[in-house]
């Protein structure tokens, strides 16, 4: 198959991307100290922190690249790798732990070959763990794309995940 590059379309995509990035960063023009909030906005927009955006932040806000990366890698809420279409978060807070939360993670490791922090090859799921979501009455809890799934066991979680393609 011959590859035809639709240049105007590619250009439009690149422009809208650049525009988006610029407007996100411009919101924090004089607020260097709010770097963490800016990174949260970037992650909310792109699902992860693209490398070129981090470099652009450093240039536009005059923060050393090393500092931007140190913050981006210190906090567990940030990901430097693209994440999957669906985010599965398993709670491993104490209450969920003693009710068997770890077994949910084991199940995903087995079935989808991903460890916490990783994404399946087909970009279907990203798996993350969290230290407590504060709904301990419902534990073990898993959250799929923001939807709380309560009183989970490996089997129930499996059935839930089948609904996400």
């Amino acid at each position: 198959m011959e590859l035809v590059l639709d240049f105007p379309k590619v250009k439009a995509i690149v422009e809208s991307y650049t525009e988006k990035v610029d407007s996100l960063i411009d919101n924090y023009a004089d607020k260097k100290e709010q770097l963490i909030s800016l990174l949260q906005d970037v992650q909310a927009e792109f699902n992860y922190l693209p490398r070129d955006v981090l470099i652009k932040i450093s240039q536009k806000l005059d923060i050393p690249v090393s500092q931007v990366f140190s913050v981006a890698t210190f906090f567990r809420a940030f990901s430097l790798k693209p994440r999957g279409r669906h985010l599965v978060t398993v709670c491993l807070g104490t209450a969920c732990h003693i009710r068997g939360g770890q077994r949910l993670v084991d199940k995903l490791e087995r079935d989808y070959r991903i460890k916490p922090g990783e994404t399946t090859e087909d970009l279907r799921f990203s798996l993350e763990t969290v230290n407590c979501l504060g709904c301990c009455a419902l534990g073990p809890v898993a959250v799929v794309d923001g939807k709380y799934e309560s009183k989970m066991n490996p089997d129930k979680l499996d059935r839930v995940l089948r609904g996400y393609k």
Binding site: A77, L92, G93, R99, R110, N131, C136, P154
Partner: protein, 626 residues
């Protein structure tokens, strides 16, 4: 005239008298005998389907055109998360639990219009098998003393007028008009309030040192980076009654002479962030934040900062580093944050619950406040009672209540007829308390004596099926992951402890490992930079102290008495009990189970990965774990 209209449109109240007028006019518009349905909209009830319940109420009320006679309110967390979604119908306070959208038409026709009780939706007291109709009679609520948590189930957290109607911001009026900053600090000191974030430092003294500190710019910070797993009371307060926290912060700012405040809240709490943000916007609109608050000449604003998911940021110096846009590493605190904190300026940091206590103390006085609690710990504390317990939820109790009262009278005991083993308090830095100390009164000092601590108020109940070595391993793993890595004792010490504990739970432990653990614990508590490292060994020390036999069983007998540690257990099928239903055979991910229908199955140990799937699905208790 034009000026009056403008002010009315702007909603801004410019003086204490105007705030009182506003309060009276709100109350005048309200009819306390009117039916008010409040649906708990806390995170846990939402996860159980509260939003669909609210939608169903809206539809049904519209369909029957009851908008004028029936008020619907989505409130903050009521605390009884176990029975969510929870609905309370006022003025009688009829209490319905585990309500589903399908129940709504019946609630409206039977209860709201017909005045009848729907038996099916009532709470049944497991102790007496009695159905309980009214909220205050439910044992879970009966034994509680709700002060800072009292309004949570009554007000709509997104409506400032609800808060004002119940007396909100009257403490601020009193503080700004009738009291000098010194008098406020004196009152807080006299009340005996201690920091509710875990440290238990006397709040008044902290305020005093921040007021006395040199500097023109000072900051006030609310620590809502509630990182302790199994604790969520700060979130519930911020979700359910954000104005009480904001009001406390304004009073604190006035007392120390600060004009800028921050709320540092966990990113994992989206609803708390949203409600706090709405509260700040509304307080700005009403002139309760911003310039010249209530005509006093005092200016104060509050900004919300979301955390990045680092446990260590709950530590004051790490939190402030993170507020400055840096990584959350703590620093040595030879000089307190109250003297040199955020951007090297004096900074007053208090926990959410501490701030929420302030309006109460100002309104009702230090004398009233100090009557609640024990000699060294005044007031109430909100605990989150979670784990292997019947009534999971948030409970507010006076300091000094015993662990037994909390776990059995309020918490309803341990589910499934299991035996109590330990209660873990104080989050990852706390300790596990065994049964013989259940009659200990709970306060800052008593818990410390038992090798645990108050912490942020997490209380995790563990039954006989919990392996205490695994619990210690869990907390050390947690802290290892959350250690910022700046100081060596914490970074390396936790890694070594984690290696040893993992080894023990895998049956490869040695007797001398226990001595090494104790050595490392000593180094951590003496040498770590911040409280995270200094207290990190508590879970190990307390389990070693109270449950040493379990460590010994893992090491000497290579057995996990609770049947939790995967390497030390074995699954097998009891041929006497097995009915041959094929359920476990289908569930087994590795095909280790074989057999035919209606004939006892067998489990091939070589193929078994000990995932426990067969154990979960068996209906005949035929899968043995030992």
């Amino acid at each position: 005239m034009v000026e009056q209209v403008r002010k009315l449109l702007e909603k801004r109240v410019e003086s204490v008298a105007e705030l009182e007028n506003l309060r009276q006019s709100i109350l005048g518009k309200r009819d306390s005998s009117r039916t008010c349905i409040s649906v708990c909209g806390g995170t846990a009830c939402r996860a159980s389907g509260a939003e669909a319940v609210v939608d169903a109420f809206i539809d049904e009320i519209e369909r029957r055109e009851l908008q004028i006679t029936v008020e619907l309110k989505e409130t903050g967390c009521h605390g009884f998360c176990e029975r969510g979604p929870v609905v309370v119908i006022r003025p009688k306070r009829i209490f319905y639990q585990r309500v589903k959208p399908e129940d709504i038409p019946e609630i409206i026709s039977e209860t709201v219009l017909g005045g009848n009780i729907i038996e099916r939706l009532l709470y049944v007291d497991p102790a007496t098998n009695e159905r309980i109709t009214y909220e205050p009679d439910v044992p879970f609520y009966k034994k509680q003393t709700r002060t800072i948590f009292s309004a949570n189930g009554e007000i709509d957290p997104t409506d400032i007028e609800d808060y004002i109607a119940m007396g909100g911001y009257s403490a601020l009026s009193k503080a700004l008009v009738q009291m000098s900053p010194e008098e406020i600090i004196e009152e807080v000191k006299k009340s005996g309030l201690r920091g509710r974030g875990g440290g238990g430092f006397p709040t008044g003294r902290k305020w005093q040192s921040c007021r006395d500190a040199e500097g023109d710019v000072k900051y006030v910070i609310c620590n809502a980076d509630e990182g302790d797993p199994g604790a969520y009371q700060d979130r519930s307060l911020l979700e359910g009654n954000p104005h009480s926290v904001v009001e406390g912060m304004i009073i604190g700012a006035y007392a120390i002479g600060s004009h800028k405040g921050y709320i540092y809240v966990r990113n994992e709490y989206p609803l708390a962030v949203r409600h706090a943000r709405i509260a700040i916007e509304q307080a700005m609109d009403y002139g309760l934040l911003g310039e010249d608050i209530l005509g006093s000449g005092f200016d104060f604003t509050v900004t919300i900062n979301k955390g990045g998911g680092a446990f260590v940021c709950g530590e004051s110096s790490a939190l402030m580093a993170s507020l400055e846009g840096k990584i959350g590493e703590p620093r040595a605190k030879y000089i307190h944050m109250s003297e040199k904190g955020l951007w090297d300026n004096p900074s007053l940091l208090n926990n959410v619950k501490t701030w929420a206590n302030v309006p109460l103390i100002i309104n009702k006085g230090a004398e009233w406040y100090s009557q609640i609690g024990t000699a060294g710990s005044k007031g109430t504390m909100i605990f989150s009672l979670v784990g292997n317990i019947n009534n999971t939820g948030l409970v507010e109790v006076p300091m000094g209540i015993t662990l037994r009262e909390m776990i059995y009278d309020i918490g309803g005991g341990i589910p499934n007829g299991k035996k109590f083993k330990a209660v873990q308090t104080g989050g990852p830095s706390g300790g596990c308390i065994p049964e013989q100390y259940l009659d200990t009164p709970v306060d800052f000092d008593e818990l410390t004596k038992l090798g645990s601590m108050m912490g942020s108020g997490g209380m995790i109940v563990m039954d006989e099926d919990t392996c205490m070595v695994d619990v210690a391993r869990y907390f050390i793993e947690f802290l290892k992951g959350e250690s910022c890595g700046k100081c060596t004792p914490c970074r390396e010490g936790l890694n070594r402890m984690s290696e040893i504990l993992n080894r023990i739970t895998q049956g490869k432990g040695k007797q001398e490992d226990l001595d090494t653990l104790e050595d490392l614990a000593g180094i951590l508590s003496g040498g770590a930079l911040c409280a995270l490292g200094q207290t990190a060994a508590n879970p190990v020390l307390s389990t070693l102290h109270y449950f040493r036999d379990e460590y010994v069983a893992h090491i000497d007998e290579k057995k996990c008495p609770a049947g939790i540690c995967r390497e030390l257990i074995q699954y097998s099928i009891d041929p006497e009990k097995c009915e041959g239903c094929l359920r476990c055979l289908r569930a087994c991910p590795t095909g280790a189970i074989s057999g035919e229908k209606r004939k006892p199955h067998t489990l091939n140990q070589d193929m078994c990965i000990k995932c426990g799937a067969c154990y979960d699905v068996c209906k005949f208790n035929a899968v043995i774990r030992q």
